[in-house]
Assembly symmetry: C2
Homo-oligomer: 294 residues x 2
């Protein structure tokens, strides 16, 4: 299978799963279960679940299914976006070209939808890996730590504080990106590794790849915010410059930011290339993420 | 030990644990970690962790410690209060006699504090029961399900919708209370049972007791809202009548509401009395909860 075929194969599986693994929209209270669906149906790159499935596929995983874990991870990502879009946070009306959850419903429903998606992730992990308690335990632990006040939520808080002060240093910026963005990408690869039965050395390589991919991803995001249009991005472009946000671009300029992104891309590729199995898909994916235009 | 001595012994253990099991306030980002502490330091009855510890103590639990699970449960309860107090939900300025988290900090910090407390619960459960993956799995599963869109969050959503419509029936009211209030009380007793190594019959009795205790608890809450003062409750009293909220009082009147609460109290006591071990503390606690004046 070619890279685009394989990618679209993964995305097809993921899109179908996102429906299946949520409570039915007809279940009480329907407004909440409809809003959970609305939030996850917004499309997007599905990068995290694709990384998870592809990482699991590096290993001869036997009967383990990675899809439930991929869904749990995407629900955590979605919850973080729903809460991040709220008026008291980024106050965004648009996400991937359509109304954000609090615009389509209301603020209270969006708040509870985010809470419910985060919680549902742990419901799924404990339900679908119940015949392998040790695996379920590793997956819950990895996801909870990645989403914690020390990683994802800590990164969002630090980002918020940095926006207010406009004075973040490069070290602080890296810390924000490592937590806000890299945490769930690392988590994707490591959860996939756990499902595949990876050794601790292999898990460390996957974690390292996720870390560098996360930094690349965020630098490219900063570049796109400055260079792409709102229609292309499906969200409001040019926001960073407008609020004078500290980004790689502001600290380094365009050329140096691109150079740093390339360096991190290469380090991610090197880590993945040291793993067993067919690493071609993951390596191509990492290179594509660095070249993306939206 | 007398009941008040035993109760205060449990609460002392819990209050000390609430500090210990959180990330240090000095850890980056400090504003978030300080706010997490602020939210959990608000006092309150600590009913859920007391129930959990007392349920575990019914059984010869050996080396299992119940404290980490009790902390995880109290953090979930605290998160639900922090989010419930937000302007888009109940918009409360006071909780247990002091400023709510979004008043003491700001809305964005309170939102992330709630998110972080919920997530931290799963960090703790997976960390502290890592040498017993099956137990960790049961605890994560029980907590995630109790806090899910089908229970706690579903109950909050249904409560919100019922407030707007002012037309909830008794069946809807019971469903709201079973989810919004009883879910975490059931969870407390069942998690304690898992830690104690309870059989599935014993777990079912604990669940039944939690269910009836939850209904009693909510009916007493409705009665207190109508009869006690703001100073006594530590939160704004008389809110239900002001917004014409559907409660047991509105549907049944005071005497019948008290009678229903007594009936549920007796059913909770009967379930607990069927369990092994010294059930005296739990039975007294349930009776005290029905008689409480704040």
């Amino acid at each position: 299978m070619s890279f685009p075929e394989q990618f679209s194969d993964y995305v097809g599986t993921i899109e179908a799963g996102l429906e299946t693994y949520l409570p039915p929209a007809t279940e009480h209270p329907t407004r909440l279960h409809e809003a959970m669906r609305y939030a996850v149906q917004g499309g997007g790159k599905r990068l995290r679940p694709v990384l998870l499935l592809a990482a699991a596929d590096l290993f001869p995983s036997g009967s383990n299914t990675a899809l439930a874990a991929a869904m749990a991870l995407e629900y955590v990502h979605t919850y973080s976006l729903v809460h991040d879009d709220l008026p008291c946070m980024d106050n965004d009306d648009l996400r991937r070209g359509r109304a954000t959850t609090h615009k389509a419903y209301d603020e209270a429903t969006a708040l509870l939808t985010g809470d419910a998606l985060l919680t549902h992730s742990f419901v799924i992990l404990t339900l679908h890996y119940s015949d392998q308690p040790t695996l379920a335990h590793h997956l819950c632990s990895e996801l909870a730590n990645a989403a914690s006040s020390r990683r994802l939520i800590g990164g969002q808080m630090a980002d918020l504080l940095a926006e207010k002060s406009n004075q973040a240093t490069l070290a602080e910026l890296d810390l924000i990106h490592l937590n806000k963005t890299a945490a769930l990408l690392e988590c994707a690869l490591v959860m996939g590794g756990h499902i595949g039965g990876a050794s601790s050395e292999e898990l460390a390589l996957l974690r390292r790849a996720g870390r560098h991919l996360g930094l690349t991803f965020q630098i490219v995001d900063d570049i796109l915010d400055a260079t792409a249009g709102t229609a292309t991005l499906g969200k409001t472009a040019g926001k960073d410059a407008k609020v004078n946000k500290t980004t790689y671009l502001k600290l380094h300029g365009m050329e140096e930011a691109k150079h740093i992104a390339q360096k991190h891309t290469q380090q991610a590729v090197t880590a993945i290339a040291s793993l067993p199995g067919n690493t071609e898909f993951l390596i191509t994916l990492i290179r594509e993420m660095a070249k993306r235009e939206k």
